[in-house]
């Protein structure tokens, strides 16, 4: 008698089960990361404690977590839109950068010449457009030329990063920055106010929360959201139904890219106040955003919670870098492991393990 195991599709999935699987996946992910730490010679529980303490254990920690959650909410919710349509937008990093670049241009050139109240809104608008255009490019490439969006968005990531590098050591190099690769600082009118005692640029935070809500409504209650979901779930039925694939894809990338661009504006005007190396400005938010969206099960509202969670990991990761001397790459390990366990968990939501006893007939 032989025993084999098979994955058998489930009929019903309840939200309760989904949530349970999610939590279990995260737990398993943490355990796995703990193992990695242990191999590296670090006490996993100690590391975990340090991470939690770093991100949620103090006023500073919590404020930092919220600060880092702002771009993640924006990018995460934008990506839920793209992923729902099965458009794999890996380019949020560069969409963010383009938003930052465009906003900086406004800030540096018009920041002192326009009435104060106009500058910030204009920066956000232009930042949105910058990210939107950069996001629309891969959409165009896919629809008109059949180019795989994973590769085109990635390539554009590198192109945008090098473009920024070019700007900060070349034409935009700050005269006041003593040779550092920065642009000039943004004038006061072009910077965002923060909550005193923190780095939380609250205007962007409000915009982020608003975007999450708007995108949620968009996905579930509008015609566009419906068409987007049909395109993602069954593109051939979408064609049959007369849904314009081209229009849908471009619009969704305009939104997804634009929202990432808003994140770029926030980072530049609220945190750094000038442009510098791409790695500093976008800080891997584009990639972390992918996991944020996935953890949120592609629900824009849930991405708020998911963003806070991953922001916590980022902040905690910074903390253990300092205290335990671990490299920045540690965060990548976290992200990769957690994402793996999340998708493994996905499998068990829709299927269950069945033990089949083989028989000889």
């Amino acid at each position: 008698m032989s025993i084999s195991m098979r994955l058998v599709p489930r009929h019903q999935t309840s939200t309760g089960r989904q949530l349970a699987v999610l939590l279990f996946s995260l737990l398993a992910g943490f355990v796995a990361v703990g193992v990695v730490f242990a191999v590296k010679g670090v006490n996993p529980l100690f590391a975990l404690w340090k991470i939690l303490a770093g991100s949620f254990g103090s006023f500073y920690g919590i404020s930092e977590t919220i600060t880092k959650a702002i771009p993640l909410i924006l990018i995460g919710s934008g990506l839920t839109l793209a992923f729902r349509a099965k458009f794999w937008n890996i380019g949020a990093e560069s969409q963010l950068l383009m938003g930052a670049i465009c906003a900086t241009w406004i800030g540096l050139n018009l920041g002192t010449r326009l009435p104060g109240w106009m500058v910030i809104p204009l920066m956000f608008l232009v930042g949105f457009l910058g990210g939107a255009v950069w996001g629309a490019l891969p959409a165009l490439f896919k629809v008109r030329f059949g180019v795989n969006e994973v590769i085109s968005t990635l390539m554009l990531n590198y192109v945008a990063a090098e473009f920024l590098n070019l700007l900060i050591v070349g034409p935009w190099k700050g005269a006041t920055q003593q040779g550092f690769p920065y642009t000039d600082d943004l004038p006061a009118a072009a910077t965002l106010a923060v909550i005193p005692g923190t780095r939380i640029h609250y205007l962007t935070l409000l915009i982020a929360l608003a975007c999450a809500v708007i995108l949620f409504v968009l996905v579930h209650s509008t015609t566009f959201g419906y068409e987007l979901r049909v395109v993602g779930e069954n593109p051939e039925a979408a064609r049959y139904a007369g849904i314009d694939f081209f229009r849908t894809t471009v619009i969704l990338m305009v939104i997804s890219g634009g929202v990432a661009g808003l994140a770029g504006v926030g980072e530049t005007a609220g945190i750094h106040h000038h442009l510098t190396y791409p790695g500093v400005i976008s800080a891997g938010y584009g990639f972390t955003g992918i996991i944020v969206a996935w953890l949120a099960k592609l629900n824009p509202l849930a991405s708020i919670v998911s963003a806070l969670f991953f922001a916590g990991i980022l902040v905690g990761g910074d903390a253990i870098q300092i205290s335990l001397g671990l490299p920045a790459a540690t965060v990548h390990v976290f992200n990769g492991v957690l994402l793996f366990f999340l998708i493994m968990g996905d499998t068990f939501v829709n299927k269950r393990l069945v033990v089949i006893r083989g028989r000889r007939s």
Binding site: L7, K40, E162
Partner: protein, 307 residues
Amino acid sequence: MGSIIVSTLIRTLIAGTPLLLGTLGEIVTERSGVLNLGVEGMMAIGAMTAFTVTLTTGSPWFGLLAAFLAGALAGGIHAFVSITLKANQVVSGLALTMLGLGVSGLFGRPFIGRPLPSKLSTLPIPGLADIPVLGRILFSQDPLFYLAVILGILLWILLARTRWGIEIRSVGENPAAAEVQGVNVARIRYLCVLLGGALAGMAGAHLSLVYSKSWTEGLTGGRGWIVIALTIFALWNPLRAFLGAFLFGCIFVLQYLLQPIGVPPNFLAMMPYLATLAVLLAGGLRKDHRRLLAPAKLGEAYTKGER
């Protein structure tokens, strides 16, 4: 002038070798129907493993072997998640990339910047290496180059002219039909993904042992993604992979050539990525023809008994 051309060609072949190895691996993987976007991560793991093992054991050959195995292991994770668990292959590949970059950065930290004492020296082929010009370019290269070339030819023969090749390609085109003929779809896919991972690992090893003879974070520099694009450019044919890999190797080398004459370095750094885009866009112009050549069921999970 002539010597510049010769040295350029030599360096083109060196630069193209990791791209060729990676592309060959990804071609085999994708032909069996599995999309593995984790090449960047697998390459990073291979690079770091090769470097650290070579440093600690003193033998680059151990380093190569370790990279081969490490790459296969990394590929194995993706194989398990994609084939057995039938999860979303795109996201799994991305997760593998993150994990690979993270793990290699984490464990490679102590080795950053250390010099490589025992190198993988070039292996001139006796007799052929003496041919003027060509001998220096083609026949005085490192062992991995020869391996890549031989592997490319072998893989072409395997895919096009052997029974195993028919099985692999059938599994990628129509796994249900293959299964009905008694072919074990999952096993073939596993083997192909593992091989793809092993080759990506070796590509990474080349980067750290031959190309740059050092290890830093970010050594792979997006080459894994270029490999994925090259797979499409090669139309999933190992022989065409030669063309793509060395073409892009050339572009990497040109960066250094054009710098002295005043072309801004950042623009040059963009070149490989812009070139990838351009190549894919051009390929898209003859859309129908290209689509017919991708394995029909690429990226789709197969459930046994599903028809």
